[in-house]
Amino acid sequence: MRYLATMLLAIYNINATINANRVIFYLKRLPLLGKRIPDRLYSDSELKMIATVIVTILNVLRKFIGKTIYIGLMMVLPLMLLFKEIQRPEYPAAFLQLFFFLSLIAGTVQISALLEANRNKYICIKLMRFNARDFVVPTLFARHATNFIYFLPSVMLTYALLGGKILHGLLLLILMTAFRLSFEAVQLLIYDKTRILINKRFLIQWLVIIPCLAAAYLPLFYHSVWPVGRILFSLPMILLLAAGAAVGIAYILKYHEYKRTIEATLKLDDIMVDFSKMKGEAIFSSVKMKEEDFSEESLRSGKFEKKQGYEYLNALFFERHRKLLEKPILNRLAIIGTVLAVGIIISLFFPEAAGQLEHNLPSILPSFVFVMYFISLGDRICKAMFYNCDISLLRYSFYRRKDVILRSFIVRLRKVVVLNLIIGIAICVALYIFVEVADISFRWMDLMLFTVSILCLSVFFSVHHLFLYYVYQPYTTELGVKNPFFKIINSVVYLACFACLQLRNVPGYFTLVVIGATVTYIIIGLTLVYRLAPRNFRVK
């Protein structure tokens, strides 16, 4: 017992230090405040102790609240709101049914404290060379014991409030913990014999979870409740689960191959442990180039041999990223085509719906502002520019020269504008076709202004993304966004577009406002690029 406590304390200390260091690390990154936090905070053990205690308390609170929310959302709310046919006397039985299938069965298959890989385990066993058994066995017991405690108030209280016996609530949790301990042993046994990790096999898990969800909720739809309590709380069942737990614990304590087993399971997850890296990889993969995508001939072709310098560079950039640019364009054209087809079908069957547009073209423009926000390209292209090209070339002084930055900005802007105009034009053409087929009458002037504003919006969003990229260069080398101005401007533009969506009575001059606002933004954006980009366009 003392050994258990010593081990747990040691593990807790490491964990707490890591957490406190992380808190300091993130505090230091806060704007304004961050600069005032000195490095020596890392070594100030007293302050760190306070941080550790706060983090621990918050964590414990979070666990209690989390369990309560889980019980509330998954069990109590459905009972109260969805299944009104279930009568009050049936509440305890219904709750037992939900808890049995959702937590006792489905929850258990998702947990393997012994075999799952996590950051702490990785740090302690792989990096700090803890004895594997000394780490996993105590943490296993701690995990299930704390889980029991975190569940205790919400389950007992809920069960009592629903009209059940409060001690049955306690018994339910004891049985769950017993079952979970025996299942830990089963998973260890399975892994030892077959090298299959149940908590990594999503197919196996869903094969359990889906029937469990069905068994938990479906009967309630038909106003019936399983007699879970009668079986679960019967003496044979209690004895069976207790025996299972005893055998399981014995197996876990006797097992001697922890070192090999745990090392093997951790290896599988090496990458998963480094969460920031994993996140970075996920973002990168959307803009990454693959070598095998390019044939030797295409790399040798000398297609742009006649172009010079930066023209040559940018031509090659767009050539190598064609896939990245063409696919979204084609996707968007397909969406526009589909929407048009659906619109035409609707107008054929429900002509009165389409008729609402009669003489009222400007009324749909606000929604199109929002549509253009989502359908325009830019963010991903900027990320690709940064990650695949600028991040390396910006290390060279020649690439940071004012004229070079501005020249490549213009080349890129032209390209992005063309891509977005393709989408804008497609939207306009789709609208003309729709108006023609649905036989809607409209004012020519409205249609003209509508076209102009859609095209303005296409240019606007192209400028918007490139302007933010060049002036605020928001990406870090991990492609995360860290510039607050970038986020603010982006949010303002989003809110403006979203507000347009909410407009009910569209004033007649709205089209002119859109055109005016976009043109103004474009002019301001370009001016700022010319003035600020040469200084700001850097790898940060």
Binding site: M289, E291, L299, G309, Y312, F317, S392
Partner: protein
């Protein structure tokens, strides 16, 4: 013409701190054209920081770097601040645009340097010079080895011929043969440049460099030229490096 011109790079009191840690504490030194300087320092002494300050990648907290031009007999006749354009910088970890092939990058680099310097060779001739095989020239840089990328970076300054060349521990990634070739090449071009070569490998420094400068405790200090090939040289350098022991021990590599 007639009179020999000589360039000098003068560093005055360069300072740079990261947070509370002062990495460069007023480093000053004058480097001359025609010599290869070995910049010796322990891990984390600030070699890369110094280079980054000179190249404009980092802003210094104080001090200046000047490029002086001297004509034989006339003394100094031009003093300019060291501009990033005057520097060729070979990074420890080579950074190149990976979406280009080696050939395309070099063509691009030659294009943008046309008019600024005399381009003497074609793209392929430059590749021949660096002994990069024809079949590798049209592969994406993404697939290049570390050494190949470094060769490309070296080609950059061979083409653009900037007055000052900074090499941040480049030879460590080359195999024996390539390292020998590179040494030969550096010796060939040194008469036209100021070459500063950072390393923590003592043998490499004594073997290749004409002068040894030690960066320790945030300042630069030259090892007496006479000492360079004497028996006590190693001891002397160790002594200079350990002077900044407290510094070296407490500092990690700055990222």
């Amino acid at each position: 013409m007639g009179k020999e011109k000589l360039m000098k790079l003068e560093l005055k009191d360069i300072k740079k701190s990261f947070g509370e840690k002062q990495v460069l504490k007023g480093a000053g030194f004058t480097f001359e054209q025609g010599k290869i300087y070995g910049l010796l320092g322990r891990n984390g002494a600030g070699k890369t920081t110094l280079f980054n300050c000179l190249s404009g990648d980092l802003e210094t907290d104080g001090g200046e770097a000047l490029l002086l031009e001297e004509t034989e007999g006339d003394g100094i006749n031009a003093v300019n601040r060291l501009m990033p354009e005057s520097i060729g910088y070979v990074f420890t970890t080579p950074i190149l645009p990976e979406f280009l092939t080696g050939y395309e990058f070099l063509k691009f680099f030659i294009d943008i340097n046309k008019g600024k310097t005399r381009i003497e060779k074609t793209v392929d001739e430059y590749f021949d010079l660096m002994k990069i095989e024809p079949e590798d020239r049209h592969r994406l840089i993404k697939g290049y080895s570390h050494g190949m990328k470094n060769k490309l970076q070296m080609l950059c300054f061979i083409i653009s011929r900037p007055p000052v060349i900074l090499l941040d521990e480049p030879l460590t990634s080359f195999d024996v043969i390539v390292a020998l070739e590179m040494k030969k090449l550096l010796r060939e071009i040194k008469k036209d440049h100021i070459i500063i070569f950072s390393t923590h490998i003592l043998q490499l420094a004594t073997d290749l460099c004409d002068e040894i400068v030690v960066l320790s405790n945030g300042v630069l200090e030259q090892v007496d030229h006479e000492m360079l090939h004497s028996k006590e040289f190693e001891e002397k350098v160790i002594e200079m490096l350990s002077d900044g022991k407290s510094m070296g021990a407490e500092s990690g590599e700055q990222k």
